[in-house]
């Protein structure tokens, strides 16, 4: 058995972050004001319509759609770290599971809002449900995204139950109503054998369920594109291409979150260099797989250069989108892979910088997937002004695209102020097993 003093230290260490301090207030204030500005831009879009964006008849999917794909992609990491690594017995990932789940839940929940921002008439949102057809990939997408948000919430909540009990008992400086909420949510947890069994079983079932559902949400998102015959989208590997790309951006997001949690919540003993090293290796692995898919996605049609593919690919390789395309491939994928092969680079600070580069690259990669194809329809575009043919996002569009990111940060910040970011119950359990 672990001695009580050690258990107490772990508990107080990990509960330490649950308090509202000054830096939290400043950070939330900053996020709040930024969100307010972005919402102002959205109100302008609501009143004037989508004319305030760069969208039109030809490029009708612009920054909003690529933003949506990015958000769905990043949310997939919960499934990789908590479910796949968890089920395969990779114990090192256990302390990161909750961080990954929080990121997953926040990004998935906000992804739905991103889609609404792309609608000129959001008041007609219900029509999608009333008149939706089961043949439409959009309907599948709505179904799986909703399902994934629900399952992610459960997947965050269920392993949290014992910790909620600890919160209700051990946190001293909280208002009574908060204690009451912890108590209700901890569902009379008492750590009996039967409860442990039920908890393990439910977590396991969820871990299995979340794998196909997470695969489905990003595969279906890729089918929004792949189910059309347009150059650049008409590809059979779109599903796995998107899923592997998702792991890249999600891993980067987790690395960034790890860095800030470790630093701000003084978790150096729990999120160690060892974890960064492991995450670095994981990022190399998923990036290599993604690079492999990129090779397939661009080299195979690039070798054949069929008429319409050629227009599209030339635009990416040497044309108007070439700078963005090569920056994304080189700085968002190739250089990070090479750097992360060195042990020295798999330390917290270099990893943070690499993670940021990868995440930015991942965002622009979605832009590269969505927009250039829209600019080259099969039917020639004639007699229209230049800004119909070449898409440039407007300032309002950019602000409205930043809003979801702020929202995600707000959700993540709030969640990490009410629940322990490292699972207490599991940490203690793991230590006990070792003894």
């Amino acid at each position: 058995m672990l001695e009580q003093s050690k258990i107490d230290k772990i508990t107080s260490d990990l509960l330490g972050s649950i308090r509202l301090n000054k830096s939290f207030m400043i950070w939330m204030g900053f996020l709040g004001v930024s969100l307010f500005v972005c919402l102002g831009a959205y109100v302008k879009q609501l009143t004037d319509g989508l004319v305030v964006t760069g969208l039109g008849d030809y490029v009708s999917w612009g920054m909003y759609l690529s933003n949506f794909v990015f958000f769905v992609a990043t949310s997939l990491i919960g499934m990789l770290i908590s479910a796949i690594l968890g089920l395969s017995g990779a114990k090192w990932a256990a302390p990161l599971a909750r961080i990954a789940e929080i990121i997953a839940l926040a990004f998935a929940a906000v992804a739905g809002l991103v889609i609404v921002s792309d609608m000129g008439r959001p008041d007609r949102l219900l029509n999608v449900f009333i008149h939706g057809r089961v043949q439409s990939p959009i309907v599948w997408d709505i179904t799986v995204v909703t399902g994934y948000v629900l399952i992610s919430a459960l997947f965050l909540y269920i392993p949290l139950i014992p910790d909620l009990k600890i919160c209700s008992e051990k946190l001293d400086k909280i208002p009574p109503f908060q204690r009451k909420i912890y108590k209700i949510l901890s569902l009379n947890w008492n750590g009996t054998l039967e409860q442990e069994k039920l908890l393990k079983q439910s977590t396991r079932m969820l871990a299995i369920l979340i794998i196909p559902v997470a695969m489905a949400i990003h595969t279906v998102t890729s089918w929004l594109f792949a189910s059309t015959p347009r150059a650049g989208w008409d590809s059979t590997i779109m599903g796995p291409y998107f899923v592997t790309g998702a792991f890249v951006s999600g891993s980067a997001a987790v690395i960034i979150a790890m860095y800030f949690y470790r630093k701000n919540y003084k978790l150096q003993d729990y999120i160690t260099d060892f974890h960064f090293d492991k995450m670095g290796k994981l990022l190399v692995l998923v990036s290599l797989i993604y690079l492999y898919f990129n090779l397939n996605e661009y080299m195979v049609p690039g070798y054949k250069m069929k008429k319409f593919d050629a227009i599209h690919l030339n635009n990416l390789f040497i044309g108007g989108h070439a700078v963005m395309f090569w920056m994304v491939q080189i700085f968002g994928l190739i250089i990070p892979i090479i750097l992360l092969l060195f042990k020295k680079m798999r330390k917290p600070l270099p990893m943070l910088l690499i993670g940021i580069a990868v995440l930015i690259g991942a965002w622009f990669k979605r832009y590269i997937i969505v927009i250039p194809t829209m600019e080259h329809p099969f039917l020639p575009i004639q007699n229209v002004p230049l800004h119909f043919k070449v898409y440039t996002p407007t300032g309002i569009e950019i602000l409205v695209s930043i809003a979801p990111l702020i929202l995600v940060l707000i959700i993540i910040t709030l969640l990490s102020k009410v629940i322990p970011i490292i699972p207490i119950h599991e940490t203690i359990e793991q230590l006990e097993e070792k003894h």
């Binding site: 939706g132 057809r133 089961v134 043949q135 599948w140 179904t143 399902g147 629900l150 399952i151 459960l154 269920i158 139950i161 569902l187 009379n188 947890w189 008492n190 009996t192 039967e194 409860q195 039920l198 908890l199 079983q201 439910s202 079932m205 969820l206 369920l209 559902v213 489905a216 007699n383 229209v384 002004p385």
Partner: protein
């Protein structure tokens, strides 16, 4: 050799001249008899309102909003704003003629819009001109009601013969030299058959009828004859004939298909979708039941 070169030079010169004319504004050269034509529909706020609807669907894409000078600038020549001084200066008959014949990118609306609609668009244009005073045509619109159009199908020669007469009080009058066109109703509007002809001295015209025109299941088609006469105005007559090729192609939306409505979605797709949703919902419900058991198990222990 020299002569040929000379001919080419003349031809080039001519085409150059024509080109030049089509770029120069407002040189419509409307024949005198067309110029003097007037509407017998009164231009008032009612007809202008109807004309606005017709304008928005047929003209706005090129000419923009009247008075706002926002016509489609990428066309050559740029379509004029129809409230501009040069357009205002055109007579009703000239405008009507322009709508009938078109020029270059300006389409002909003769077979697209009935005469009354063409006049209503002009009524709408004129509503932007405060100084405009209408000269109403002296022709009597009621005269159109006297006209009878008779269609007879000649199956041996595959011709549709039409006779146009007017039942005047004084007796039957044959409409001579009246413009006459034949249309067939299709899914998305009318399709003209043969060319636009003129009636002969007996008020007759004969159209070639295609042998391969698809009809409905039993071969019915709806034919429309449109006559345009100087005195009697525009008259249309619609009748059904069982003279086309019977066609019984199942409609593309009859069977279950990817492009069909929800009620006609492919079965395999419905099954796949439902089984996925049910499976996931089942597992989630089971887990929620587990949570319920979990919250109760503690109480059992205590009791």
């Amino acid at each position: 050799m020299y002569r040929i070169k000379f001919k080419i030079a003349i031809i080039l010169g001519f085409t150059g001249l024509i080109n030049f004319q089509s770029f120069a504004q407002n040189n419509w050269d409307v024949p005198a008899d067309k110029k003097s034509k007037n509407s017998n529909i009164e231009f008032n706020s009612g007809t202008a309102k109807e004309g606005e609807g017709i304008y928005n669907t047929n003209c706005k894409s090129c000419h923009g909003d009247i008075g706002k000078n926002n016509s489609l600038q990428s066309l050559k020549p740029v379509p004029p704003d129809l409230s501009s001084a040069q357009s205002k200066a055109l007579l009703d008959g000239e405008l009507f003629h322009i709508l009938n014949v078109g020029r270059g990118l300006m389409p002909s609306f003769k077979e697209v819009l009935p005469e009354s609609d063409r006049w209503k668009v002009i009524a709408y244009m004129r509503s932007y001109d405060k100084d405009y005073v209408q000269i109403i045509s002296k022709t009597d619109p009621a005269k159109a009601n006297l006209v009878k159009i008779k269609m007879v199908f000649d199956s041996i020669n595959s011709k549709l013969n039409v006779e146009v007469v007017a039942n005047e009080k004084a007796g039957i009058v044959k409409l001579k030299n009246a413009e006459i066109a034949l249309f067939v109703t299709r899914h998305f509007g009318k399709m003209q058959l043969d060319k636009t002809l003129r009636t002969d001295n007996n008020g007759n015209a004969s159209f070639d009828f295609p042998k391969d025109l698809p009809g409905d299941k039993v071969g019915n088609v709806e034919l429309i004859v449109r006559v345009n006469d100087e005195i009697y105005g525009e008259i249309e007559s619609i009748s059904k004939f069982k003279i086309a090729v019977p066609t019984d192609k199942p409609s593309l939306t009859e069977k279950r298909a990817m492009w069909n409505v929800l009620a006609k979605a492919p079965i395999w797709l419905i099954l796949l979708y439902l089984s996925g949703v049910l499976l996931a919902t089942g597992v989630i419900l089971y887990i929620i039941y587990n949570l319920y058991k979990l919250s109760k198990s503690n109480n059992n222990l205590k009791n």
